[in-house]
Symmetry: C2
Subunit: 293 residues, 2 copies
């Protein structure tokens, strides 16, 4: 049916905070954008479908009716943990040519484009992905309880743990840990804070750690180097080499650059684009392969 011939590219980037959609012509020229509420497919599938639909409709305003039906789409959402969830989302969206993946796939495509390399996304949490041609290897992203090393939440928690060791005489004091002990009125206050703290609460201390590390203060520098050591372990496990580039994103990512060794630092590049750019790029690639389903 000629009726189904693709005329547009569609990209969607969805996460726990909100989702964004973009529509472009077949050359990738942007025609419209839209945004809506949360779209984590595991947290709430029904809400996710509604919000993605709202964002898509907003992006398509001003285009001919039925534009979305004549498109090749790539939808990247948080919470797409396996093929079953991806299929469920694709069915509910009722678009002809749609590929559904998790949001890391579009983050990598956006940041690295077609280049081989590693994306280290380090904000409140942390996750790494290595792209080699068509394959993506992932490391981390397990959450603060047992992982998220080098993340903002991890840095904040390490600082408070360090402050308690200082109080007990098991670690050398420093301006930063002394400030924490004073701010909380002693170790009891820190323990009470931790009993209710969520990752974002710990991550609120990350900027002070970054600043202390930049100023060369002992504890700040130690924690940043500990995070950098994790990143180096991950790069080694991904066999990061001379042909790879490294992209550091998120609120914390770029701050690790100065704590990485010279041979890695020289391979750092700025991200080519956003995760939404990545979704559009993957839709374009699917269209060009003629496999946009």
């Amino acid at each position: 049916m000629t009726d189904a011939t693709p005329r547009y590219l569609v990209g969607v980037d969805g996460g726990g905070t909100g989702c964004r959609a973009a529509i472009a012509d077949l050359t990738g020229r942007l025609l419209g954008q839209g945004a809506a509420g949360p779209a984590n497919a595991t947290t709430d599938l029904a809400q996710t479908i509604v919000n993605v639909r709202v964002a898509l409709d907003a992006a398509a305003v001003g285009l001919p009716a039925g534009a979305l039906k004549h498109s090749v789409a790539h939808v990247g959402l948080a919470g797409v943990l396996d093929g079953d969830i991806a299929r469920a989302v694709a069915e509910e969206l009722m678009m002809r040519n749609v590929t559904v993946t998790d949001d890391r796939a579009i983050s990598v495509a956006g940041a690295l484009g077609a280049r081989d390399g590693v994306l280290a996304a380090i904000g409140t949490g942390s996750t790494l992905a290595a792209q080699r041609g068509d394959s993506i290897l992932r490391i981390g992203g397990w959450g603060l309880n047992l992982g998220d090393q080098a993340s903002g939440a991890w840095l904040g928690r390490e600082l408070l743990e360090h402050a308690l060791l200082v109080h007990d005489g098991l670690a050398d004091g420093c301006a930063l840990s002394t400030a924490m002990l004073e701010a909380f009125g002693g170790p009891g206050g820190i323990v009470r804070f931790a009993s209710k703290a969520r990752p974002a609460d710990y991550a609120a201390f990350a900027p002070r750690i970054v600043a202390a590390g930049q100023a060369g203060q002992a504890a700040g520098r130690l924690l940043m180097l500990r995070g950098a050591a994790y990143l180096m372990d991950a790069l080694a496990a991904m066999e990061f080499g001379r042909d790879d580039v490294l992209c550091l994103t998120g609120g914390l990512g770029p701050h690790y650059a100065e704590h990485l060794p010279e041979e890695v630092r020289t391979r750092i590049i700025a991200p080519e684009g956003s995760a939404l750019d990545g979704a559009l790029a993957l839709a374009k690639a699917a269209f060009e392969r003629g496999t946009g389903r």
Copy 2:
């Protein structure tokens, strides 16, 4: 008033699981014991008073009426965080000569008696106390979020974190981490477990870690040595020396002995008695000093 002359010694040991009381004559000979429900003074003061009373009354069965009024008592309870809580408990108990402290004071008195040394109580949580004459220096006991190093919960959580690093290729695999990954059906299962796990849930894996350490398996041995390194740091901060003894109690404590260096290992002694024995001993000391109020 001769009516108030002490004729008995009373000891109470209370914690989050239950409380126990003991009555002895003025030489320390045991006359009766009783037990009741939880007695953590911070968690629930009213319930604590009721349960301690029940345990005391049960211990006094068969003794002359009013025996408790003619006693010198030491009550050691979890959750006695400061002097205000201690005074509140003492007032509510309405006994003439009663001293209220936290449960660590009676644990130290029970385990070490009058000897100088260190008590390392390591079960689901961990806490250390150094006794030098009349003074007690405490280290740790901050809970699993930011502390409790070397504890059963800490060991279990370290194992699961290690298993995720193994999955990501950032740590060498071993029988124990492989078994955990299989038991949980992969890293996702481990992350889901951790999202709801309480310290006791993590501590359930400690016996397997102890056994692996004893068998010389890499991961088990590594984790036990990491816990032992924390204990050595704490001993150094407490200036553990030639005149000190070391008492390792709790479900995990004794298992660290084989991972400590020779010069420390030779100073390990079995606990002289229980925390309840310690409470009675502190009551006896107060009576002998004539300061049992």
